[in-house]
């Protein structure tokens, strides 16, 4: 309890710094704007700003990045309601209900409920986040090399089962990430590997250009395949805020969405989309008007939006508690921390407890800023959706390349970023998870080091190494998650192919 309160108060202390508030204001608004641009998600936003975080300290950087995520989840719902375009797969059911309300002239109701659900889901999930991450971080004292190695296996297996539509291709993608990670001096004997006698490869490839290339640049190249404008906003915008009676009706589904979103977001191998879909189904079960779901249900919007925002906090639990990111944005967050000299792994929060304070500050501050600006932003964002899409894509690409150059002032890094972007483009198009590759590239060195040093400690006996209780449990959990991932992919394919089917079910 003491640690719980200490983390919460630590976050409030971080918020005492006006500089942090300026960053949070920029981050939240940027998140809303980027979220309102269909298809340009939080991953691209993180890729854009990641080089800038190099110039901040780790605490402001984490708070800033998380405020982007807070704004982004809410921003995603705006085009879903106003244009009928899902900003991300998780908002597909917001389209069903929100766009239906917009077409009936009840735009204010849809936007208002989405706004309140985003705020409620985000605010309450911060408490769950702190309550879960603090004990998890405390466990890390018992982790030795075998447990650490098992955790890295768990992280990679989770992200393989989370992203992409083919598990074997996910493994190939993760292997590609490992290959990038082993370039340079090996972590135990310092033997040069894959440097082909060149000085520039001797110390290995920097993680940031690789990760940004794989996650953000590849996405921009993919977006460049199509030239079109995001549709004009249709219908009249009647921005009337929902009544108290309407809000009261949405409190139970918001609560369901918040709890489901936090827990499912925290489970490696799950993510925002299943969290939103499951919350929606649960809200329908308890609703007095289930027949409205899919035709303009405010309860449906409330559950869906609360779940998406709560999943933000949920994703942070394994990311900061164990150093294991479970999504593309979480990988970039971890990359920002490695840029600040931190080593990913379960000791992340133990060695740098201020990261928890920063996370609380980012989520809490972002929510407060959203509270004061969100309603106004949601009405203003209809203009953002009419911005020229081609200009957004090209300028994002130019800023990313400039940002990468700014990190170390090396053109070579921009080349690495570009090459990874091109490879990532083909990976994205053909079902190889770029998130898995990026995570493997970050973890590769520690993954290998813990295995080799651990084997040395256990007389080179792999059975002894992996049969330690915690290590064996984590390896078993990895296998379970892999199995669940396969089942999830099958189910998600079915559900996303036909949203109407969920409504019927």
């Amino acid at each position: 309890m003491e640690q719980f309160l200490s983390s919460l108060s630590g976050g409030v202390v971080v918020l005492a710094d006006p500089y942090v508030w300026v960053l949070l204001l920029i981050g939240t608004m940027l998140g809303v704007i980027v979220g309102a641009l269909p298809g340009i998600g939080a991953t691209v936003a993180y890729g854009l700003v990641l080089p800038f975080t190099y110039f901040m300290g780790p605490v402001p950087a984490v708070a800033f990045l998380l405020s982007i995520a807070v704004g982004n989840q809410f921003g995603n719902s705006i085009p879903a309601i106003l244009i009928g375009l899902p900003g991300s797969p998780a908002t597909i059911l917001t389209v069903a209900d929100g766009f239906a309300l917009h077409k009936r002239g009840e735009t204010g109701l849809a936007l208002g409920i989405a706004y309140l659900a985003a705020l409620g889901g985000q605010a309450v999930s911060i408490l769950f986040f702190v309550a879960l991450v603090v004990p998890l971080a405390g466990l890390t004292y018992v982790f030795l090399a075998p447990e650490l190695f098992s955790l890295y296996v768990l992280g990679m297996v989770s992200i393989i089962s989370l992203t992409g539509k083919s598990i074997p291709k996910g493994f190939v993608a993760a292997t590609f990430g490992l290959l990038i990670g082993v370039v340079g001096l090996d972590p135990v004997t310092l033997s040069p590997r894959f440097d082909f006698g060149t000085r520039v490869l001797r110390n290995g490839l920097d993680v940031e250009p690789v990760v940004i290339g794989l996650l953000a640049v590849s996405e921009l190249f993919r977006q460049a395949r199509q030239s079109f404008q995001w549709s004009e906003v249709s219908g009249n915008l009647v921005a009337k805020f929902p009544s108290w009676a309407q809000v009261k009706r949405c409190i139970p589904p918001m609560f369901i969405g918040t709890v489901t979103g936090t827990f499912i977001g925290a489970v490696p191998g799950a993510g925002t989309t299943p969290a939103a879909l499951i919350s929606y189904q649960q809200a329908k079960v308890i609703s007095r008007k289930p027949e409205e779901f899919g035709k303009g249900s405010i309860e449906g919007i409330a559950a869906n939006e609360a779940a998406q925002n709560a999943a933000n906090s949920g994703e942070l639990i394994p990311t900061l508690g164990l150093g294991l990111p479970v999504s593309g944005t979480a990988v970039l967050l971890l990359s920002a921390l490695t840029m600040q000299g931190m080593v990913p792994g379960p000791s992340l929060t133990r060695n740098s407890p201020e990261l928890l304070d920063a996370a609380v500050a980012g989520l809490l501050g972002g929510t407060i800023i959203l509270l004061f600006t969100g309603w106004w932003l949601s009405r203003s964002m209809m203009r953002v959706a009419t911005v020229n899409r081609s200009v957004v894509i090209i300028l994002c690409l130019a800023i990313v390349m400039l940002g990468i150059f700014a990190l170390e002032r090396q053109i070579f890094d921009v080349w690495v970023c570009l090459v990874c972007g091109v490879i990532g483009y083909f990976m994205t198009r053909y079902g190889y998870s770029v998130a898995a590759a990026a995570l493997a590239a970050i973890l590769a060195s520690e993954f290998e080091r813990t295995l080799r040093q651990g084997l040395n400690l256990f007389d080179n006996d792999i059975v002894l190494f992996l049969s330690r209780p915690i290590a064996a449990t984590i390896i078993f959990a990895s296998l379970v998650i892999l199995g669940l991932g396969i089942l999830r992919l099958r189910r998600e394919r079915r559900l996303l192919a036909s949203p109407a089917r969920i409504l019927e079910e």
Partner: protein, 172 residues
């Protein structure tokens, strides 16, 4: 997705596996520290995973080759926006513009290479208005130069404009 490209990627992964195994074979331990599996084990494992993954993709694709009609099959990757034509060539044009930009930056400098890149890339994206393109390119270049060179103190390459910028007090 085009199953022929999917097949080609599978073959490329397989060949990459062979390449990794070949290079891994040449890795020699250096220094006094010795461990059981040595510096070659991980690269060997990577090579073998590539071989297995590539074979899996190739065999899977070949197994369903006859039962599929046409070369375009259900996508396993991120789909394009529905009802909007997509062009791989357009994307490649942007990639080529990006490559030329990185090649040109050290030679022409940031203030010249950047507007050229923005103009080329926006034309590749089929934006029509030349005036709008040029204004966007110049405003973007000026704004980012001020932010990065002055506020973030990043030494951006200036190419032939170095002396001019220096004399005008625009560079450090």
């Amino acid at each position: 997705m085009d199953r022929r490209i999917d097949l080609a990627i599978g073959i490329a992964v397989f060949l990459a596996g062979l390449g990794v195994l070949f290079v891994a074979h040449g890795i020699r331990p250096t220094g006094p520290v010795v461990d059981a599996i040595g510096p070659r084990a991980f690269p060997y494992m990577i090579g073998i995973f590539f071989l297995i993954g590539g074979s899996w993709t190739v065999l899977g694709r070949l197994r369903s080759w006859k039962s599929e009609t046409g070369n375009f099959v259900e996508s396993e990757g991120e789909p394009d926006e529905p009802d909007v034509p997509a062009s791989a060539l357009q994307s490649f044009a942007v990639i080529v513009a990006s490559i030329l930009y990185v090649l040109a930056m050290p030679r022409l400098g940031y203030p010249i290479a950047t507007p050229l890149f923005v103009i080329a890339a926006l034309k590749a994206m089929r934006m029509q208005s030349w005036l709008a393109i040029i204004v966007i390119a110049l405003v973007y270049t000026a704004a980012t130069y001020i932010i990065f060179a002055h506020y973030l103190r990043v030494d951006l390459p200036l190419g032939p404009l170095r002396d001019l910028f220096h004399s005008l007090g625009l560079s450090r």
